[in-house]
C-alpha cells in the first residue's frame, strides 16, 4: 500500500531520521514511537506528501477510485463557531443509521446542535475522530489520537482500529499511550 524508501530528514542540521525504510501492507497497524521532537509528525506529513523529504521517497499504491487517506493531526480541523452537525456537513458525512450509531457510541448524538466551541477538549477530539471513523479511507493516519480521550472512548477507538485492520485496511498512529492492539512498531529514537 505504501512503501517508504531510505527516507531522511533533518532540521537545522539535526538528523531526525536517516535512511528509514518500511512498508505498510494491507491489514496492518503501524505505531510510530519516539521521544518529543524525534520527527513522528514530520514522518506522517512526509508519508502524506505535505512535507517533502530531504532524501528518499514514498511509493503509494491504491486502486483507482478508492479514497486513499484520512488524516488527523494535532489540530482537529473543526470550526468552533459552527455546530457539531454543521461540522459533519463540512466533512461530507451523511447522518444515516450507521453513522448515527457511531456518533451515539461517542456520546456526540445529544450534542448535534451544540456549538463546537462550547464542547470540552475531549468532546472536540471525539468529533474529529468521528470524521476518521466514518470515512471509508484505505489508510488512516492519526497523530496522538488517544490524547484527551477517556477510557471508554479509548476502548472505542481501539475497537474501531481493530475492525478497520480486520477488513484489510491499514492504519498508522503515533502514540505515547500504550494500546491494546497488535501492531508493528517504528521507533525513531534508534
Amino acid at each position: 500500500m505504501i512503501k517508504v524508501n531510505n527516507l531522511s530528514f533533518s532540521v537545522n542540521n539535526k538528523k531526525l531520521f536517516h535512511n528509514l525504510s518500511f512498508a505498510i501492507s494491507e491489514g496492518e497497524l503501524i505505531r510510530i514511537s519516539g521521544s518529543n521532537g524525534s520527527g513522528k509528525t514530520t514522518l506522517l506529513k512526509i508519508m502524506l506528501g505535505i512535507t517533502p523529504p530531504k532524501k528518499g521517497f514514498v511509493e503509494k499504491e491504491f486502486s483507482f477510485g478508492e479514497k486513499e487517506f484520512e488524516f488527523l493531526g494535532h489540530k482537529n480541523g473543526l470550526k468552533t463557531y459552527l455546530s457539531v452537525k454543521d461540522n459533519l456537513y463540512l466533512m461530507d458525512l451523511k447522518l444515516n443509521d450507521k453513522n448515527l450509531k457511531v456518533l451515539n457510541d461517542l456520546s456526540l448524538l445529544d450534542l448535534m446542535s451544540e456549538t463546537v466551541g462550547n464542547l470540552s477538549y475531549g468532546q472536540q477530539k471525539k468529533l474529529a475522530l468521528a470524521r476518521v471513523i466514518l470515512s471509508k479511507a484505505r489508510l488512516i493516519l492519526l497523530d496522538e489520537p488517544f490524547v484527551g480521550l477517556d477510557d471508554d472512548s479509548k476502548k472505542l477507538l481501539e475497537k474501531f482500529l481493530y475492525n478497520h485492520i480486520k477488513t484489510g485496511k491499514s492504519a498508522v498512529i503515533t502514540s505515547h499511550i500504550d494500546i491494546d492492539l497488535p501492531y508493528s512498531e517504528i521507533c525513531l529514537d534508534d
Binding site: P52, F71, G73, H74, L78, K79, L90
Partner: protein, 216 residues
Amino acid sequence: MIRLFFKELFKMVRQLRSWLGPLSVFVLILVAFPLTQDIDTKFSHQTTFSFLWIISLLVIMLSTEKVFLEDFDDGSMEQHLLKPYNFSDYVSAKVTSSFLLIGIPLSCMSWLFLQSAVAMTNLNLVSLLSFLLSNFIFINFCFFGNAVSLKRGSLLGLLIITPLLFPVLIILGKMLSAALLGLDYSNFLLLLLGCSLISGPLMPFVISYILKIHLE
C-alpha cells in the same frame, strides 16, 4: 468545485464578523464622510471616485485579514490539501465567496453613494462595472498578500500588495479622467477587465503554491 464553493460560502455566512463587520464599517464611513463637509459642498467626481476606491480597498483588506489564518490554525487547511480536488479549487472557492459577500455589496453601495453624491447618469453602468472589476482585483491581491504573510501578521501582506495595486488605481483614475473629458475610456475598462481575467484564474494557483510552502 461547486460543493466546495457552497461549503466555503456556508462557513462565511455563519461567521458574520468576517463580512458584515467590514460592510458596516464601510457604511459608517460613507455616512461620516459627508458630515465632515459643509452642507453646500459639491463633491467632485474625481474626489468621490477616489474616496470610494480607496475605502473599498481598505474594507477588503480588513475583511480578508484572517482569511487563511483560521484554516491554518485549526488544521483544516492541511485536510483540504489531502482531499481529492485541487488545492487551488479551495482558494478559488474562498475568493468567490468573498467576492459574493463583500465585493458585490461594496460595489453596489459605492454605486449608490455615487448616485447620491454626484449624478452621473451617462456613466451609470461603467461606474458599477469599474467598482465590480476593481473590487474583484483587490480581493485577489488581498488574498495573495495574506497568503504570503500567513505566519507573520497581515500588515506585512498589506505592505506587499499595496504597491502592486498602484497600477490598478492609476488605470481607474485614467479611466475616470477620460470619461469626464468625454474621451474614449473603453480601453481603460478593457485593461481593467484584462487584469480581472488574468488575476481571477491565475491567483488561486499562485496562492495555493504559497500556502503549500507554509504547510510544509
